[in-house]
Symmetry: C2
Subunit: 231 residues, 2 copies
DNA sequence: AAAAAAATTTAGAGTAAGCTAATAATTTTT
DNA sequence: AAAAATTATTAGCTTACTCTAAATTTTTTT
C-alpha cells in the first residue's frame, strides 16, 4: 500500500489542461524535433518560467509529459489525449456559437478559452451532432475526433503561392480579434478565393484580389498566417 | 493610499459565487427572519463548518454579506446581485439545454452547477433571446431579470390543496435527478393537471389523478416539493 | 440556574498554483 | 576555449480554499 505508487492519476485541473494544450500546439508548430522550451511555455501561458518548471515536474510525475530537465518536454499519449479533448471542446464550442448563437469569428475564442475546461462530454457531443458533425471550426482549424485523432494540416501559407494562381482560404492561424475583424472586412473569410497579383520585395506586402472583386494590400506577416489550398 | 481601504472589490471567485447563491436560497426559504446559519451553509456546500466561518469573514470584509459572528449572515445588495446573476446564468442555461440540445430536466442541473460561473453575460443574453426571453426554467423556477429582479413565488405546495380541486403543477423544488425522472415517468411535468383524490393520515401518501388519466400514490415528502396553482 | 448539547469560531496545517530573487546549466558569441 | 548571454532550476514566499482538533459561545434541557 505504497501511498505514492498506488495513487491514481488525478483528473487534470484547468491549469494542467492549459499547459498540455499549449505544449501540444508548440510541439506541432515547432520547426525542429526538439522538446518544447520552458521559456516558450511561460510566454504563451503568461506565467513566470519558475512556475512552468514547477508545473512540469507535476505533469511529469503524473506521466502526462516526458520531461528532461534543461532539455524541454514532450507529451505522452495520456497528455496528448488531454490536449485533444481541449481542442475538441474548444473548437466544437466555437463552431456552435457561430452557427447557432450569432457570434462572429472574432468573438468566440475568448468564450471558448474558459469554457473548454468545464463542458461535459455529453454537451460537446450534443453540440457536435446538432451541427452535423463538423470537421473544422470557424477559423478552419480541424476538430479532433472524439477518440483523439486529428487531421494533419496539409496547407500552404499564402506566402508560398505563386503569382496569378487562384487559391482558396482554408485556415487562419492564431489571429487576434482585431485582425480577424479586419480580415472579414476585406472579404477574407473561409473559402474566399485569393489571387496574388504582386508581391513587394523584402517581405513586403502582397497585392491580392479577393473573390474576383477587390484588390487589397496584405501585410506579409498577415499572409504568413493565412493557409490556402489550390482551387 | 491606504492599501486596504483603497482596494477594489474583487470579482467574486467560483467559491464565493456558490456561497452567495446558497445564502440567498437559504435566506428566502427560511421559515424565520433570522440569519442563515454556518451549519446549514456547511451542509449545503459540503464543506466543514470551519471553512464556512473562514469564508464568511472574507465575504463580510468585501461587503457581500452582513455577518454577526455566532448569529448568522444575510446578503447585502451587492451579494444579492451576485446571487441573482448565478441564478440567471444557471436557469437560462438549463432552459437552453432542454429546448435546444435535447436534454431532459433531470440532466441539466449538473451541467449548470459548474457552467453558471463561467458563462459570459453575452452568451447568457444570446441564449435567453434565442429562447424567446423565457421567465421560468424547466423546473418552473423563475429566471431573474438581467438587472437582478426576481418574481416572488406565490404558489401553494400540493400538500395544502383540498381534495377534488384540480390544480396545475408549476414548480418542482430541488429534486434529485432520480426523483425528477420518477416524476416524469408518472406524467408529472410542468403544467400537468393534478387532482387529489385522497390523503392518507399521519402525513401519509396522497392519491392523485394526473391529467384525468392515471392514478398514483405520491409520497408526502415528494408532495411537499410540488408547487401548484389553481386552474 | 446549572448542566448538557449544539453550534461556532480559533488554531494550526495542507495543497495548488502562482511570484521574485538567487543560482546553475546550456548555448552563443567572441 | 573563454566570456557573455540566455535559459532553466531552486529556494523561499504568498494567496485562496480547504481540513481536523481544540476552545468558546449560544441554546436547550433538566
Ligand atoms: Mn480559438
Ligand atoms: Mn483554456
Ligand atoms: Mn438547477
Ligand atoms: Mn455552482
Amino acid at each position: 500500500m505504497n501511498t505514492k505508487a498506488n495513487q491514481k492519476r488525478q483528473t487534470p485541473s484547468r491549469a494542467w489542461e492549459d499547459y498540455l494544450k499549449i505544449i501540444y500546439k508548440l510541439e506541432s508548430s515547432e520547426n525542429l524535433g526538439k522538446g518544447v522550451q520552458t521559456k516558450e511555455l511561460a510566454q504563451r501561458l503568461a506565467v513566470s518560467q519558475a512556475s512552468v518548471t514547477n508545473m512540469l515536474k507535476k505533469l511529469a510525475e503524473e506521466q502526462y509529459i516526458d520531461y528532461q530537465p534543461y532539455y524541454g518536454v514532450s507529451l505522452t499519449e495520456a497528455g496528448r489525449l488531454v490536449a485533444m479533448k481541449m481542442l475538441r471542446n474548444h473548437r466544437v464550442l466555437e463552431t456552435y456559437l457561430v452557427a447557432r448563437l450569432g457570434y462572429s469569428w472574432d468573438e468566440v475564442d475568448e468564450e471558448a478559452e474558459t469554457l473548454e475546461h468545464f463542458l461535459s462530454d455529453k454537451l460537446v457531443e450534443r453540440m457536435w451532432h446538432d451541427l452535423g458533425q463538423p470537421t473544422h471550426d470557424p477559423h478552419g482549424s480541424p476538430i479532433p475526433s472524439i477518440d483523439g485523432q486529428i487531421e494533419p494540416v496539409q496547407l500552404q501559407s499564402l506566402t508560398e503561392i505563386t503569382l496569378q494562381t487562384p487559391v482558396r482560404l482554408k485556415w487562419i492561424k492564431n489571429r487576434s480579434p482585431e485582425e480577424l475583424r479586419y480580415l472579414a472586412s476585406i472579404g477574407l473569410h473561409i473559402n474566399a478565393q485569393i489571387v496574388i497579383k504582386n508581391q513587394a520585395p523584402f517581405q513586403g506586402p502582397l497585392l491580392i484580389e479577393v473573390d474576383d472583386q477587390h484588390f487589397h494590400a496584405l501585410d506579409y506577416r498577415m499572409a504568413l498566417a493565412l493557409f490556402v489550398e489550390a482551387e
